[in-house]
């Protein structure tokens, strides 16, 4: 194959070594310059992980930037230097290859990816490892809302509350494993390692907090986990990153016209005390001392987000504006007339336990079925159902 052993550099292209060195330096400094743009592109660093991951990205960007400049520089240089002059019909130099050069440009990328791989492994090992004293939170993804569950056990009672003050059944629940408190927001505090244990009620979702640089899919039928340690107080959007259907784009934290946080947000408090006083204790008190009035209790249950109704229905009283399911304002008067021989209460009960039984004209059968038995998917105790129906029947047209 007439392999030529001449290297392009020595074959009369007339490049002085000084220029080669200068170009090399320019490429390296250019790469470093490109790498320094990394903090401007990524969201602010708010977790311990984000520092390591951003440093890794900056390193990769600097190397990638150098390679980019090298290739584009070679390309532009060749294109300008070796363009055919008008009327020049001759061929280029008959160089078929250069074993040394080819060896070099196989080895150097191999070394670069080896370094990147080792660096990535070390970052990965330290970012996804189990930390001591983790705050464990449960997360449930459902189309198209997030619910976060906190365990309330005997050690975590709000200040001033003792077990003796509780009603017997609630006290028993607290002592036997604890109550589950639900919120649409994930609350924690600065420098507290968090472990989120995630399940999905329907399709796959992905739990992503860009500010924390963490992401993990929720897999149907499996429990997955994710860990991070926030280092800056503030609010961070939680986003669903895995296509989950029509409302996928809405399955993220947002801000309404009044500047209020709506949907899934990570709230990082300044300290554990702030976390308890601003978030956990009020939530715990509400669960430990449920309102006697079923209407109040129903409102509280729905507002807590333990059931993902808000993502589809409209309830002005609660500030819900989902557009997928029927509007629930003044649902009581309509429910009473929907099916002959059934009271409004019976109608609502069936509609929640068996959503496919009656469909409001114009709406598809999209609602999950809420089951009465513990252990079934979408478990909704009869107590909760009674309270919710009681509350729904009081809703008026606003």
């Amino acid at each position: 194959m007439n392999l030529s052993t001449r290297s392009p550099g020595s074959a009369g292209s007339g490049i002085s070594p000084i220029w080669v060195v200068a170009a090399g330096l320019a490429i390296i400094f250019g790469g470093l310059l490109i790498g320094s743009f990394a903090p401007a592109i990524l969201p602010p660093q708010a977790s311990a992980e984000s520092r390591q991951i951003d440093a890794l990205f900056r390193f990769m960007l600097a190397i990638g930037g150098s390679i980019f400049l090298l290739v584009q520089g070679m390309l532009v240089y060749s294109v300008i230097r070796f363009r055919a002059k008008p009327g020049d019909a001759s061929d280029g130099a008959p160089i078929h290859g250069n074993t040394t050069l080819e060896f070099v440009w196989t080895i150097i990328p191999a070394i670069i990816v080896t370094v990147l791989a080792l660096y990535s492994v070390s970052v990965w090992n330290s970012t996804h490892s189990i930390k001591p004293n983790e705050q464990t939170v449960g997360a449930v993804g459902a189309r198209y809302a997030w619910t976060f569950n906190y365990q309330l056990d005997a050690r975590a009672l709000p200040s001033g509350v003792t077990l003796d003050q509780l009603e017997p059944n609630i006290r028993a629940a607290v002592e036997n494993g604890g109550l589950t408190l639900s919120s649409t927001q994930l609350h924690t505090w600065v420098n507290q390692p968090v472990a989120v244990s995630m399940n999905t009620q329907d399709v796959n979702h992905a739990f992503w907090i860009p500010g924390m640089r963490v992401k993990q899919d929720l897999l149907a039928g499996r429990t997955t986990e994710i860990r991070f340690t926030p280092i800056e107080a503030g609010v961070y959007r939680i986003v669903c990153a895995e296509l989950c259907g029509s409302g996928h784009g809405n399955m993220a934290g947002s801000v309404d016209v009044n500047g209020n946080l709506v949907g899934a947000w990570l709230i990082v408090h300044e300290s554990e005390d702030a976390f308890r006083s601003e978030f956990f204790d009020p939530l715990a008190r509400a669960a430990l001392f449920p309102p006697e009035d079923p209407v109040e209790r129903g409102r509280q249950i729905l507002a807590s987000g333990v059931y993902p109704c808000a993502s589809c229905h409209v309830v002005d009283d609660l500030g819900w504006n989902g557009a997928v399911g029927p509007n629930l304002n003044n649902v009581g008067s309509r429910a009473a007339t929907r099916v002959a021989g059934e009271s409004a209460e019976e109608y609502l009960r069936i509609s929640i336990r068996m959503p496919g039984a009656y469909l409001v004209p114009g709406y598809n059968n999209l609602m999950p079925q809420f089951n009465a038995e513990p252990g079934q998917p979408n478990y909704m105790p009869d107590d909760d159902l009674d309270a919710i129906i009681a509350y729904l029947l009081t809703l008026k047209t606003s």
Partner: protein, 179 residues
């Protein structure tokens, strides 16, 4: 099923036909069609001269290797295929029949093993025996022992890729997230 143009004659015929029709249509007006561009008529001898000159530079083209039969010491056909050389003795049956007998015996052994109490050794034996059956069919009935090595590559490469991915699939439920 004749998806091939017949050897030489057809090729030559269509070639002369092309030359003929080119002459026939020389005077015809160019109708609107996508590729009606005229190419300069090429006298066949001119093209042949190019090939002849180029061929001279290819005198060192290596000749293809003849395929070597596998396992020929073990089993081979003798006297026109009516008897078979099998482990050093001559059996008065065609090679295909000998292989069939071996396959039938292995199948019988397999069924007997499967009725014995389950155990690791039995499973291993079953896998080995069925592998042996598959190899016999592939080598002798599908003629892989005497055919091109490319055919063997076409079997082995997907087997390797398939086995790697199957192993992975088997590992996922046990190494994956808990249910």
């Amino acid at each position: 099923m004749s998806e091939e143009t017949k050897p030489t004659e057809a090729a030559e015929e269509s070639q002369t036909m092309w030359l003929r029709s080119e002459r026939a249509e020389a005077a015809a007006p160019a109708a609107a069609s996508i590729t009606d561009a005229p190419s300069p008529p090429v006298p066949a001898p001119a093209a042949e001269a190019v090939w002849a000159a180029a061929r001279a530079s290819h005198a060192d083209a290596p000749a293809p290797r003849a395929p070597r039969p596998l396992l020929s010491a073990w089993i081979d056909e003798r006297d026109g295929g009516d008897s078979t050389y099998f482990f050093g003795r001559i059996i008065p049956m065609p090679m295909y029949t000998v292989i069939f007998a071996v396959l039938a015996v292995i199948t019988l052994v397999e069924v007997i093993i499967s009725e014995l109490p389950e155990g690791f050794l039995g499973t291993l034996l079953l896998v080995a025996l069925s592998l042996a059956k598959a190899v016999l069919v592939v080598l002798f009935y599908m003629h892989l022992r005497s055919d091109s090595r490319f055919f063997a590559a076409a079997l082995i490469l997907p087997l390797i890729i398939g086995l790697i991915s199957a192993m992975f699939l088997l590992a996922v439920p046990t190494t994956g997230y808990p249910y």
